[in-house]
Symmetry: C2
Subunit: 304 residues, 2 copies
Amino acid sequence: MSTASTDTTSAPGPLFDRVAIIGIGLIGSSLARALAEYGIARQVVCADRSAEACAKALELGIVAEASTDPATALAGADLVILSTPVGSYAAVAEAIGPLLKRGTIVTDVGSVKQAALRDIGPHLPDGVHLIPGHPVAGTEHSGPEAGFATLFQGRWCILTPPTGSDRHALERVTELWRRVGSTVEIMEASHHDRVLAITSHLPHLIAYTIVGTASDLEEDTKSEVIKFSAGGFRDFTRIAASDPVMWRDVFLNNREAVLEILQRFTEDLTALQRAIRWGEGQQLQDHFTKTRAVRRGIIDAKQA
Amino acid sequence: MSTASTDTTSAPGPLFDRVAIIGIGLIGSSLARALAEYGIARQVVCADRSAEACAKALELGIVAEASTDPATALAGADLVILSTPVGSYAAVAEAIGPLLKRGTIVTDVGSVKQAALRDIGPHLPDGVHLIPGHPVAGTEHSGPEAGFATLFQGRWCILTPPTGSDRHALERVTELWRRVGSTVEIMEASHHDRVLAITSHLPHLIAYTIVGTASDLEEDTKSEVIKFSAGGFRDFTRIAASDPVMWRDVFLNNREAVLEILQRFTEDLTALQRAIRWGEGQQLQDHFTKTRAVRRGIIDAKQA
């Protein structure tokens, strides 16, 4: 068996013997590539309910085994990574829970963390360690062919271990994310869901909305919308091209935080709308000047 | 004197003798560079009410002369380009109108075109040709040092000549934009303002709003908003870092079209909000699937 280590001196050994990735989409397949390429796992296998995705993963050579039956992938795995849409967690956890051996670590990569604790936790037997995680990284593309090993480099990974988590399991998952190039932050699941509601979930909802509004305009104008999209619109379309099922599940599973931040947004938008209607130029200029500073902060934080 | 030509065979001669650029910001300075580098004008001079901007433009070597007095720049110019915020057009046109010699062409680069016709037109003497224009290009940076000659390459430039415009003047302005690398589209000013309200003005308003909402959160969460901005938020901050005065003037001068499209957006957002609140997953998924297709259209149109 491998020995877990947080030692990052040259050529550290594998952290895990066999990693089972459930769901081989953008994030799952990026992790599969990174775990193999950086020598973090001796073997990476996957399960996916889509036989086509399994075949593609094998064809790409990014997993040693692929199966539509999670039981096959789980056999002998010391780390299981859920990378399916958040809405599937309860069903997946219920199916795999009884098959997990004592000492196995279970983690996930979902964008909502209270739901991960709520839906996965109750299905895991004693001695199996749940360390939920969320790599703040991604692209608008989906599927096993969209992944790449460097996706997580220079990005944050947030872990939300429940109270009383196994320290050693937390260290191993932390080390995994460090080795794929991320900086790890540990926080409460509820705090994560509130912060990500503003930094990620609301921006996606807004982008999906505005692109929908544009596409509802009559056929003639629609082609002009695409033609002249360089004026700002195209930045929204990239975000609004993200995986529909993944995002459906994010909104359904972080409902309270999203609705609360959406309410603040609507109030602020209404205030700007009123300033436009009444010609209050100074208010508009003051607001736009303030938002410039936020951009500077992001550039300084090297997240631009 | 140069002769105007729409001939695009190798090494065409200059289209203009002396071009006066009023306002040497991002767009003005990009044009100054392009007009000189591509041999479109024999001489490029500028006026800017900021002495600092004038000094910077001279220091950068992108204009032959720079003055805070428009009259100096206009002397002998056969093309005048307004690249100041749209809200300044009436005052600038009133100041320069009496100084313009017969046959001069006046154009602009503003994002609102009905206002350009309304505010510039009445101040121009007979025999001076107004051909309003809008290059659909830009970055979030401002000032003469932010410009670059290739900004307009592969982008659209929309011209909105008023009824009865001089055909020869329109041809020369069209040719100018072609030579800096743009594709020219001619349309009615009112149609331009409606299309750009959705492709550019609303996206900017939304981005300004969401970045403001985030920055209003308490100090602690604000730094986390910046930290985890890679989840979608950072794309909005880039747009919301655009020039505050320019955008104030866009919203004040395209009020009706912006408010109308904003109303549609708010209705659509409310519908999605309701779907989240009531857990209507299929409606969310259908919406998100539809918006993906719009992105594909933009990629196909090579505007991504």
